[in-house]
């Protein structure tokens, strides 16, 4: 009797682990299936963009879509580059992005240093006031900044695209936190050695805060790449147009045949640089984004 029970119990246990394993395996398969389906949904627009960009217009317009272009039309890319004047748009965007990133970094580093290392009257109040401005949505600033930029005579200049956005309270905050983690003893020691602030910043603080600075750089560049509303208001002329505005304009003023493949080629060209940067600097971008919370 007793031995029988033990055997049965043993068998039960075996059975149970088997069932558990099956459930577990099924669970895993389910998880993977779910993730893969979601990944396909996420990727589908990119796939559709690329194959559409390689089709001829008649093939694109077919009633039954093809999932791989019959004739690969690389020429669509050349055409897109030319039609949307992408070369020019790239240069404009790159210029605005680089200049504003560099100046912005200098301003941010100096301010963060002051807040993190220096003692001055009203420091806490000022810092609090800065943080408070983060609460106010940017749309509120746009209206007056538009007038201000206009009155400064900056309409249709790169200055109008760069200067109003040089200071980001959020970046100052981010970098200040980072600077504060660096032990104060280092600074005091440097001061005893007679090292100047700037040299100390350059030699000690910047290298230590490099990951944050890289994140800021990337976010700032992405900002230039994706900006649409402000450039549309202040510098939507051919000489200063930014990439997003140029792209949208090139295909909404309905001059000429709506050539969807060429349009998709242009979108692909515009998307490519960010993709490449992302694949190379994945860690920094994801880190920066998770801390910044831009683009809800």
């Amino acid at each position: 009797m007793s031995t029988k029970t033990t055997v049965m119990q043993e068998r039960d246990v075996k059975k149970r682990t088997l069932v558990q394993n099956i459930v577990k395996a099924l669970g895993k398969t389910g998880t993977y299936a779910f993730l893969l389906i979601m990944a396909l949904i996420i990727l589908f627009p990119f796939y559709w963009m690329i194959i559409s960009s390689l089709k001829t217009l008649p093939e694109y317009r077919q009633a039954i879509p093809t999932f791989w272009p019959r004739e690969i039309m690389w020429s669509n890319y050349a055409k897109a580059f030319e039609e949307a004047n992408l070369g020019n748009l790239f240069m404009n965007t790159l210029y605005v992005g680089l200049v504003s990133t560099i100046i912005s970094l200098v301003i941010t580093v100096l301010s963060a240093f002051a807040f993190a290392r220096l003692e001055f009257k009203g420091k806490e109040t000022l810092f609090g006031a800065l943080l408070a401005t983060m609460m106010i949505p940017g749309e509120l600033f746009t209206i007056t900044n538009y007038i201000t930029v206009n009155q400064l005579g900056w309409m249709h200049t790169f200055t109008a695209l760069i200067v109003p956005f040089l200071v980001s309270v959020f970046y100052i905050y981010l970098l200040r936190q980072n600077f504060m983690q660096i032990p104060n003893e280092l600074y005091l020691a440097a001061k005893v050695d007679g090292t100047s602030d700037i040299k100390y910043l350059w030699k000690v603080m910047i290298p230590l805060a490099l990951p944050t600075l890289i994140s800021i750089t990337i976010l700032k560049m992405m900002g230039a790449w994706n900006s649409y509303i402000w450039p549309k208001l202040v510098a939507n002329d051919a000489a200063h147009q930014m990439i997003t505005n140029g792209l949208r304009n090139a295909f909404t003023d309905t001059s000429g045949q709506a050539n969807y493949p060429v349009q998709m080629a242009a979108v692909a060209i515009v998307s490519a640089p960010l993709f490449l940067v992302f694949l190379c600097l994945r860690k920094y971008i994801m880190q920066g984004v998770s801390r910044s919370g831009i683009k809800g």
């Binding site: 996420i42 990727l43 879509p65 001055f120 106010i136 749309e139 209206i143 007056t144």
Partner: protein, 312 residues
């Protein structure tokens, strides 16, 4: 005692930031208020010598305007529909990602891809997926129905005009929801996955020992422990949702609607910019302030609700 040399040095270092903030952040706040309370203020009219009375007419005018109510409605629908969908999906994906080992990094990268795209550019891709080309209303025939309609037809459904002429508001909104959710997923997945990875493994080990079912683990352990992150993505989702603008431009172009009904999908931000371009800065300012107050209220409300449920 504060060292006086440090004192002026600090202000020197801060001066570029402070000057720029005064001009481009602080002044705009005051000026927006000023313009909002000057009845019918317009910059060009002011140059032409017009004067404006103090009052709240701009606000009344904004609130009474049917189209503004429509903008508000569209914005609210998009918010209410997209935030729960994208948050739930992101949560499921994050939990699933967290439970696997092989392929985790690759899939994580894929799920983040929509983030590094330009919302206007990819909007154009979504538009082509829904777009009907060469539609002839009499023959009820088209050259290209768009891939989404092809799929619907493949499963025996009937093609719908999603964004073209004759499309319904519901169809337009459905397209926007799909696009906005797609666009909002990466950020939410990133934050939630980050949160999941910082949860102490012991909780799960304990649950395993107890033999707690998976669903229960999710609702009883994961979600409560993840609640600060969930709160964060929900609040930023709502704030972003109320400022929705460029995703609609991406799909519908600057007309903000299907070709036969421009402006149908206009949002509050769109309303503000329209007024700005028509030299009605007073109206634009009032609209922006109303938007600000709405966001503030929604955020405070969210905070209150969330405080009840968040376990720090």
């Amino acid at each position: 005692m504060v060292d006086s040399k440090q004192q002026w040095k600090a202000w020197l270092y801060l001066s570029p930031a402070i000057i720029l903030l005064l001009v481009f952040t602080v002044w705009p706040i005051f000026n927006t208020l000023r313009m909002a309370f000057l009845n019918g203020y317009g910059n060009m009219a002011a140059m032409g010598g017009a004067t404006f009375d103090l009052g709240i007419q701009n606000f009344l005018k904004v609130i009474e305007y049917d189209k503004f109510i429509d903008c508000l409605k569209t914005t609210a629908i998009l918010c209410v529909a997209t935030v729960p969908i994208s948050t739930t999906l992101a949560l499921l994906i994050a939990v699933a990602l967290n439970s696997i080992k092989p392929l985790q990094k690759t899939l994580q990268t894929i799920f983040f891809l929509p983030y590094v795209t330009n919302s206007i550019a990819i909007g154009m891709v979504f538009a082509t997926m829904f777009n009907i080309v060469g539609y002839n209303p009499v023959e009820r025939a088209a050259d290209t129905w768009g891939i989404i309609n092809n799929v619907i037809q493949f499963f025996g459904g009937e093609a719908i005009s999603w964004i073209n002429q004759g499309s319904t508001y519901t169809a337009n909104i459905a397209v926007m929801i799909v696009y906005i959710v797609w666009n909002a997923l990466p950020f939410k997945i990133l934050i939630l996955l980050g949160g999941l990875q910082s949860i102490n493994k012991q909780y799960y080990d304990a649950a395993k020992v107890d033999g707690t079912p998976k669903a229960r683990v999710l609702t009883r352990i994961t979600i409560p422990l993840l609640s600060p992150m969930l709160a964060y993505v929900i609040i930023t989702g709502f704030i972003g949702g109320f400022k929705e603008y460029s995703s609609i431009v991406g799909i519908f172009g600057e007309k903000m609607g299907p070709p036969d009904d421009a402006g149908r999908l206009n949002t509050m931000v769109g309303f503000v910019y329209d007024a700005l371009e028509k030299d009605r800065q007073g109206l634009a300012s009032a609209g922006a302030l109303i938007l600000f107050v709405i966001i503030l209220i929604v955020t405070l409300f969210n905070n209150k609700v969330i405080k009840k449920h968040v376990h720090y």
